[in-house]
């Protein structure tokens, strides 16, 4: 029994405090823009803050959100995203995303691209995002 408790405690300690999973980027071409999406899972018992994302893929990498106002859609930069303790936050189409402005290279379907997420507590997390033009439509899946 003691071994089991120790095992569970050990696993809990080994589990990363913060994970960035389901990373994908929309295909685009050099000099254009695109967006990166992911799921950020905070396994710790303290909130964490995503304050920056860096990459060599574009001239500028920013955290953005898409918003709707009076029937129009727009985008704006946000300074940070707070991921509450034991919660997940999804960067998804039509919502928060990582914006790559003026790409240095083509983003080709099926290929992988490196980015670094920077968190206040968890520090830097390197991820690899797959280029994929995922569907948004409802009703055919």
């Amino acid at each position: 029994m003691l071994n089991l408790i120790i095992g569970i405690l050990l696993l809990a300690t080994l589990a990363p405090k913060l994970e960035v999973t389901n990373n994908w980027v929309r295909p685009s071409s050099k000099d254009m823009n695109t967006a990166v999406y992911a799921v950020i899972k905070n396994n710790s018992d303290k909130a964490d803050t995503l304050y920056s994302v860096s990459s060599n893929l574009a001239k500028v990498t920013e955290i953005h959100e898409t918003y709707e106002k009076d029937g129009s859609m727009g985008m704006r930069k946000v300074d940070f995203i707070v991921i509450p303790a034991k919660k997940s936050f999804e960067l998804k189409p039509g919502s928060h995303h990582i914006m790559l402005i003026k790409l240095n290279q083509d983003i080709q379907k099926g290929k992988k691209y490196e980015l670094t997420y920077k968190f206040k507590r968890a520090g830097e997390i390197k991820v690899s995002a797959v280029a994929n033009d995922k569907a948004s439509g409802h009703g055919t899946h």
Binding site: V60, I101, G137
Partner: protein
């Protein structure tokens, strides 16, 4: 006598019901703006001249307004149009044209539209990206009640990289040039559009 009465009643009511049900399909949709008289001169992704809507007369048009520098919303709209196109193809439904018109003609050249199309593996058989002179695009947007204003701007190497705040819409124009129905472009329900197209055919 009673049988004759029922027969007479059926003779009148069946064709009447049939007429109501047939006309009911298309009358589910309002007759909005009439674009029949318009002939906006635009260019497609191959540089071919396209007159909107006179060139598409007799076909249903699925139209969306986009700008290719848009990273999040417009790709979703194009993706949704592409999903509708694939579904129609799967069901063997013809006579539908897909047009994605830019409201950013200063940046969206014919060459860039071609690249945008290739990147998304668009089946260009009945799907075209259109650009044109600013004046022509503005007139067309006004007729179709599309709004696009420059908003979020980032300075890169001394030049402005700008984005639009814009109407997010996919519209259907019928075979006679009437705007019939509209959907939120980036959040459209594919099944709903496909069903509406079937009713409007």
């Amino acid at each position: 006598m009673k049988i004759l009465k029922i027969f007479f009643h059926l003779q009148i009511s069946i064709p009447l019901l049939l007429l109501i049900s047939l006309s009911g399909c298309k009358s589910d949709f309002e007759l909005n703006e009439n674009l029949q008289g318009f002939s906006f001169t635009l260019s497609d992704q191959d540089g071919k001249t396209v007159k909107f809507t006179s060139d598409q007369k007799g076909k249903l048009i699925v139209v969306g307004f986009i700008f290719t520098h848009c990273p999040d919303i417009c790709p979703l709209t194009v993706n949704n149009m592409q999903l509708v196109q694939k579904e129609l193809k799967k069901e063997g439904i013809e006579g539908v044209e897909f047009l994605a018109i830019t409201f950013d003609p200063e940046r969206d050249s014919v060459k860039l539209l071609k690249k945008f199309s290739a990147l998304r593996e668009i089946d260009e058989k009945n799907f075209r990206f259109l650009t044109g002179p600013r004046k022509e695009i503005d007139s067309l947007m006004s007729v179709m009640r599309i709004v696009a204003v420059t908003g979020d701007t980032t300075m890169i190497d001394g030049s402005a990289s700008y984005f639009y705040t814009h109407t997010d819409r996919i519209s259907i124009i019928d075979q006679r040039g009437f705007l019939r129905t509209e959907y939120p472009g980036s959040k459209a329900n594919i099944e709903e559009i496909v069903n509406d197209i079937k009713k409007l055919r």
